[in-house]
């Protein structure tokens, strides 16, 4: 029998060292920090290899070229934190783009078109959310329905690419603000605004906290009296609305609405979000991480075009990175469960 020297023998809680308490409370940030670290390492490595990688032009175009992906990743993060998945984002983005191009060529004013795009995306999200929540359809299948529907409707609306020549929409992309090699476009400002608003909603609003609660344990959230059903529908609406915004940015970027735009974008988005440290099991993740994940994707793409090798290496590299991050996440979750 050992003699304890504790001053308060009534305390039953185990004594945790202070450093461990600090690390423990930050454990959900670990994957995000890993993503940011990866991004910095990749920048450093690319700079060391190419010599002229960290330049204002490259970094500016990194944001400009991936603005739509950033917006998609924001919506996807909401969905994945609840433990769901949204495969429809690429198709919905293409559909809102085609719809916009279609309306613009028929003389609908720009402001009206832009205000139609976002609710249209949200409508697809609403359909998926209702299927998931009220009809027990798995998120995978429900969002697949959304994807099929959006892709097919694209083609119904416009079989061929529609050129967009509207000054208001194209101005989002072509107006460059900045100096000394740095530049920023309205599309980037919109994308970053979406990230900031999304981060605020996730971190500081009742809805955002419920999103985490639902992902952590749906049953507990329900027993706590949180609006689980409403939240689970709303995350898909958020994702759909983000796809609508992304449709606007993508239309400004490509200057056309085309039914085959953005095929496979949903996979890039999911990969970026997972690399950014959001757990697919739900309950944990931050928009900062998703932003870092998209930038990692962008850096890989840029580095591969710098190397001048086949672009198919982009997907291979993303696949390998995704694997590495998922294995690391798996280890983190396994350790957390053991504790």
């Amino acid at each position: 029998m050992t003699i304890t020297h504790e001053t308060e023998p009534t305390t039953t809680a185990p004594v945790i060292p202070a450093w461990r308490r600090v690390v423990g409370s930050r454990v959900s940030w670990m994957p995000v920090l890993a993503a940011v670290a990866l991004l910095l390492i990749m920048f450093a490595a690319a700079q060391a290899y190419f010599g002229r990688f960290i330049t204002p032009g490259v970094i500016s175009s990194l944001f400009v070229d991936n603005a739509y992906l950033i917006v998609l990743a924001v919506g996807m993060t909401f969905v994945i934190i609840t433990g769901g998945i949204d495969l429809s984002v690429g198709a919905v983005m293409a559909f809102t783009g085609v719809l916009a191009a279609f309306l613009l060529t028929n003389g609908v004013p720009t402001a009206l078109v832009v205000t139609i795009m976002i609710p249209t995306g949200a409508l697809f999200g609403l359909l998926i959310g209702i299927l998931v929540q009220y009809f027990d359809v798995q998120p995978f299948i429900a969002s697949l329905v959304g994807m099929f529907l959006a892709r097919g409707l694209c083609y119904v609306l416009a079989p061929r690419a529609i050129k967009v020549s509207d000054v208001g929409v194209l101005g989002l992309q072509s107006t460059k603000i900045g100096g000394g090699g740095w530049y920023i476009t309205a599309t980037v400002i919109i994308a970053l605004a979406v990230v900031i608003i999304g981060a605020w909603v996730l971190g500081y609003t009742r809805f955002g906290r419920t999103v985490y609660a639902v992902g952590g344990s749906e049953q507990s959230a329900r027993l706590m009296g949180l609006a689980v059903a409403r939240t689970k529908v709303l995350v898909y609406v958020v994702s759909g609305a983000c796809a609508g915004i992304a449709g606007l940015l993508f239309t400004a970027y490509t200057a056309a609405g085309y039914s085959l735009n953005g095929i496979g974008t949903e996979l890039d988005t999911i990969a970026a979000v997972v690399i950014g440290g959001t757990l697919l099991t739900g309950g944990s993740g931050y928009l900062v991480g998703s932003l870092a994940g998209v930038l990692v994707y962008g850096v890989i793409k840029t580095a591969i075009s710098f190397l001048g090798v086949d672009q198919s290496w982009t997907r291979i590299t993303i696949g390998i990175l995704l694997l590495a991050f998922v294995v690391v996440q798996r280890l983190i979750v396994a350790r957390a469960n053991r504790r």
Binding site: F135, Q219, I316, L322
Partner: protein, 353 residues
Amino acid sequence: MRPFLKSVLKNRILWPIGALVALILINFISRPSFLSITVQNGQFYGSLIDILRNSAPLMLVSLGMCLVIGTRGIDLSVGAQMAISGAVALTIIADSPTPNSLGTVMIAILAGVALTLLFGLWNGFLVSVVGIQPIIATLVLMLAGRGIALLITNGFITTINSTPYQFIAGGYIFGFPFEFLVSLVAIVVVGLVVRRTALGVLTESVGINPAASRLAGVRSRGIVWSLYGLSGLLAGVAGILYSSNIMAADANAAGVNIELDAILAVVLGGTSLAGGKFTLAGTVVGVFTIQTLTSTITFLGVPPAVTPVFKAIVVIIVCLSQSRRVRAWLSNLRPPMRRLPSDVVTPIERTAA
């Protein structure tokens, strides 16, 4: 209701068969020649035969997918694996001095299928040993796989001239298309192995409750691992069929979205994505339904790119018909009399799936 009628109505395969019959009827009414099968040179021809033949790649992929879904998993990489096996086989044939010899073709096919078997086992390793979620474990290969296939073909669309290879998709045996016979053999072999041995039951037990089946002594790791391998193998064969059909290895187009069609076929057939009880017969019906739908749409003169809209509508209808909420509504519509205590509809449990 009489017990027989009741058991028929409760059968999960009823809805998919109903959908298939309805589709065939629509076709028959709009074009009576749909059901006719003609014989030329001892070979069968007709729309139905075309459907049987064209459904072969999807059938192979869906069989593997059905088993994987039975273990609570999913395999998103099948389309990419089709691209890989086609790329390997056609590159070997194109590089060989004797593209018309049977030996070369056999080696090429074996190499392609062996590689996808390895990739399937790799997926299985990630899922069963490392413990990664199936969606993500197979997403890795889905993303990287097409890139690998492009590297194998050096970014080109490899085309070949090889009579034995052409036979795979174009040939006939006993009057039936060889491609259909391949899928028929796959159905029979998989069906026998799964349902005449304990493998099927063990798979279902792993899918229904992995922890409990492990405690009961089921070696779930080996089962899950090998089923992903099987899915890779079948996808490899499907890739061979596809590339033989167009006599080209197109890494970007081979098996695009086939994983979604396969999942759809499995779900249409009445297997729940939540894992557990699966039905191979339902999957077979699901595949035929999707293939008939595709050819119906083509026949009706609708551009193929609009096909997704119809698929979406079919999925919504089938998913809703399987949903407990809708079933509860429907049974509330019936007159409430003569309801036995055992018939009382259980309230919808709104627990986490």
